[in-house]
């Protein structure tokens, strides 16, 4: 009995000592400059710098955060190979819509771009391409007259120079503030692709999170090869509108990249980390017999 008590006492002493010892070994925490970002999908707090080095992919659940056009460009093309075109185009307010100018100003600030579409020429593993990227930070990557014009000019440029074309979409659709003029950009961009097709050139469309509405229903769906980036929302009508119309819950996984693959709307679902590699591979496969097309 005595032994038991002595032993317990000794254990308690050890425990106390260890705890004290531990507290004394604590070192002052170096508070980093930067912030933690909460993952939209799993809720984990991720250190911002980790997120950036990880291509804006959650290290815990693989969720792909939205990515600005300039960051996207860095990840895809050879360093220093990009030459921008049509950077002088910017939007006006043709319908005199209230608050539109303010929204444009905010978009410019957030994206560090004149409009929601960045376009130009670059190389991917030394292969020349015409490349365009929508930026969802600029008014949800919506397509008004300027975006429509820039997309069309890029397609026409690629047609003229016989370059393969890669467009990354990230868009809520046609831009409400420019009304019918935005709607007509769907025709304009798709029409340019008709002539691009006739020239026998390769167009790879990469749909990223989100690709919906008038952008999904025009150039984004018209690739010779359609790629959906992993963990993206892709569809025509918004989930809320569909819910209101049919008055029932939507099935699990509705309008995801996997949904589009299962229903035959995209050729591939590709993880962000593998995009450059996949694009390189696809571009290479189009050089075997017709080197002159590249």
């Amino acid at each position: 009995m005595n032994d038991f008590l002595t032993e317990r006492k000794k254990k308690l002493e050890d425990f106390k000592r260890n705890v004290r010892k531990k507290t004394t070994t604590y070192e002052p925490i170096d508070i980093p400059d930067g912030i933690f970002i909460k993952c939209d999908q799993c809720g984990a707090a991720i250190y911002e710098k980790t997120l950036i080095t990880n291509h804006y992919i959650c290290p815990y659940c693989d969720y792909h955060f939205r990515m600005g056009a300039k960051k996207r460009l860095e990840m895809i093309v050879d360093e220093g190979s990009f030459t921008e075109i049509d950077q002088k185009l910017s939007s006006v307010n043709p319908l005199n819509m209230p608050d539109y100018e303010e929204k444009l100003a905010i978009g410019k600030k957030l994206s560090d771009m004149e409009e929601a579409f960045l376009s130009g020429t670059a190389t991917i593993v030394k292969m020349d391409v015409a490349i365009g990227i929508l930026d969802s930070q600029f008014m949800m990557g919506s397509m008004g007259s300027t975006v429509g014009e820039k997309v069309t000019r890029l397609i026409e440029y690629a047609t003229d120079k016989k370059l393969p074309l890669i467009i990354f979409s990230a868009s809520g659709g046609a831009r409400m503030q420019e009304g019918i003029l935005s709607l007509m950009q769907m025709t304009k961009t798709s029409a340019a692709l008709h002539y691009f097709d006739e020239a026998g050139l390769l167009y790879i469309s990469v749909m990223t999170n989100p690709t919906t509405g008038g952008v999904a229903a025009s150039f984004a769906s018209l690739g010779d090869i359609n790629i959906a980036e992993h963990s993206s929302l892709i569809g025509f009508a918004g989930a809320r509108v569909i819910k209101q119309t049919i008055r029932q819950d939507l099935p699990e996984g509705f309008q995801t990249d996997k949904f589009q693959l299962d229903h035959g709307m995209v050729d591939l679902v590709v993880h962000r980390r593998d995009l450059r590699k996949t694009l390189y591979k696809l571009l290479s496969l189009h050089t075997t017999k017709r080197g002159e097309s590249l």
Binding site: I180, M186, S190, A191, I242, I246
Partner: protein, 274 residues
């Protein structure tokens, strides 16, 4: 002056004729052709053949339906992907037989539903936009009452585009627009004014070529407007038939290519012109 909201109400007037009535008036010998050959026959889009002024046309139309049962059958004029694919099939057929195409737009929009998404609504619309640009036969388009968004545009790529005086053509319904801009769908009347959705507005932006006068209005006396349209179609058909294919396609491309208003070099505004 009629306000934009009044136009919206006229465009949706319950006495206003739907596409079937217009087709019967212009093409008494109309014969309907069904199906997309892939999945189904979408009754929100009607297609077929008929003669006007001695010329056989391929007619494509969005039909809303008249009675309640009829409206349900036609899904209130809201097409599924198979509807757009049927339209494209018939348009390709028109190209083969060198027939002019008449597209009649009357829809609140493409149907937002699970099946529509599963079968590729976005892809169906996009494909029509691209393919219509290359069709080697004249395309005449008329907005009868409501031209709702991509659902209208998917049969709206034409060499000549007309709008009836009391029709509307917009990126979204005024209700939808109000719920986005004002977070309140009740403000649809205010939104309608802002949106620039009347025939006059669209003529101003060069999105359409001409307005078809209605006289008292299609809901009172449809024959007046139908007759006006008939004259325009005959005129258009004659003009477009005189173009060779190259000229036809080039001018169709140019027409849509110049749509939009933006600024270049931070200076002059580049307004759309035809």
């Amino acid at each position: 002056m009629t306000t934009a909201w009044e136009r919206v109400k006229l465009a949706r007037h319950h006495e206003r004729p739907t596409a079937i009535k217009l087709i019967k008036s212009l093409f008494p010998d109309f014969i309907e052709l069904h199906g997309d050959r892939m999945f189904a026959d979408d009754k929100a889009i009607i297609g077929g053949l008929g003669t006007l002024n001695g010329i056989t046309f391929t007619v494509i139309a969005e039909e809303k339906g008249v009675t309640t049962d009829d409206k349900i059958m036609h899904n209130f004029g809201m097409p599924h992907p198979e509807g757009y694919r049927k339209a494209l099939r018939l348009m390709k057929q028109a190209e083969k037989f060198h027939r002019p195409i008449l597209c009649i737009i009357d829809t609140p929009g493409a149907y937002p539903g699970i099946g529509a998404e599963e079968r590729g609504q976005a892809s169906a619309i996009a494909t029509n936009l691209k393919e219509m640009m290359g069709l080697k036969t004249p395309i005449i388009v008329v907005v009868l009452s409501e031209g709702g968004s991509g659902g209208a545009l998917a049969i709206g790529v034409g060499d000549h585009v007309y709008m009836f005086e009391n029709s509307i053509y917009a990126i979204l319904s005024p209700e939808g627009y109000a719920s986005i801009i004002y977070k309140d769908s009740q403000k649809a009347d205010v939104a309608a004014e802002l949106m620039k959705l009347t025939a006059e507005d669209l003529l101003h932006f060069h999105v359409i070529d001409e307005i078809i006068q209605e006289g008292e209005g299609l809901h009172i006396n449809p024959d007046f407007g139908f007759d006006e349209l008939k004259k325009r179609i005959i005129k258009s058909q004659k003009k477009l038939a005189s173009y060779d294919v190259k000229k036809l396609l080039k001018s169709r491309y140019q027409k849509f290519r110049t749509m939009g208003v933006y600024r270049e070099q931070g200076e002059q505004e580049n307004e759309s012109t035809t």
